[in-house]
Symmetry: C2
Subunit: 184 residues, 2 copies
């Protein structure tokens, strides 16, 4: 009766780090950066509280890991975008389609705008947010040129923000024709 039985799970430190980062990302998407806690992340990952501070010493580290994880997801998305755009005949139309598909998973979208707002307040997050903002323009620059690309991406951000706030669908035809105007 004296020995407290404590069954341990299989050891896999890197999987735990990743699981915590993924869980952190999900909690941020659902509750926002400001309401993300060690306990919520641990529960989401199915791990004990102590695991969070073992792998990410402070809460800021844990949140940064969640944001970084989200950006890694975006980066692989962007590779797919790049391929689709290279093969496209009507680039404006294709870009619109991509944005519409991107908007299908609002959780992913939410977390990236969450990052923007957080970076506006906390300069430590700024490099991360800038990396996000410049990912798409770099890809589109190949076809539209540097300046037009940045304009088009700003336009996309505005359209995405509107869809995010209103919860409505993307106004695809309007976006396509606006892209064409900026590309000319």
């Amino acid at each position: 009766m004296t020995a407290p039985r404590r069954p341990q799970r299989a050891r896999d430190p890197e999987a735990r780090r990743a699981a915590l980062a993924a869980a952190s990302m999900e909690v941020i998407a659902e509750n926002g950066v400001g309401r993300t806690t060690h306990r919520a992340v641990a529960a989401r990952a199915g791990l004990p509280l102590g695991a969070t501070t073992y792998y990410y010493p402070t809460l800021d580290d844990l949140i940064a890991a969640g944001l970084r994880h989200a950006l890694d997801g975006l980066r692989s998305d962007l590779l797919a975008w790049d391929e689709r755009l290279r093969d496209a005949t009507d680039i404006a139309q294709t870009l619109t389609d991509l944005v519409r598909e991107y908007l299908a998973d609002r959780r992913q979208v939410r977390i990236e705008y969450e990052l923007c707002v957080a970076a506006a307040r906390d300069t430590a997050l700024r490099p991360l947010a800038e990396a996000w903002m410049e990912g798409l323009p770099e890809i589109v620059a190949a076809t539209f040129g540097a300046e037009a690309s940045r304009n088009i991406c700003a336009l996309l951000d505005g359209f995405i923000l509107e869809a995010l706030v209103t919860g409505r669908e993307l106004d695809a035809p309007r976006l396509t024709s606006a892209i064409r105007r900026l590309a000319a």
Copy 2:
């Protein structure tokens, strides 16, 4: 010695409501919606903790009051924008100037994008956020027409977001020429 002396300040309930709303707005701008607390707002307003729950029963009420207060400020700004735009000869240029001036006070900007992200997560804030998003298009619609106005405003949102994230100045010439393209 038995009587606990408790000096009371002059009574002015409406001023208190307003002071709390203003303080709430400031705390939101600095810490974000998720890190806004009764105590922080009370301290900022220079009022005791109890005053917050007296005027705004729950924390959500207090935060909503802060957001509403920020939007009231925007609304009066928009009236000024309207006037400036009516008198303008070069509307694209004037709009760019207005955005640059708007960006001078990042606190105001931050809180409005904070509202957007919060509304994306909490549907209760959605009407407030939609009111914000539609304020400017309504004004510009007079000169550019409904569709072009919404496109231009989306573009502005994108430019503002970029400036917010990077902390850099607005790229004014690029914005002006992009507006012209969308207005054509």
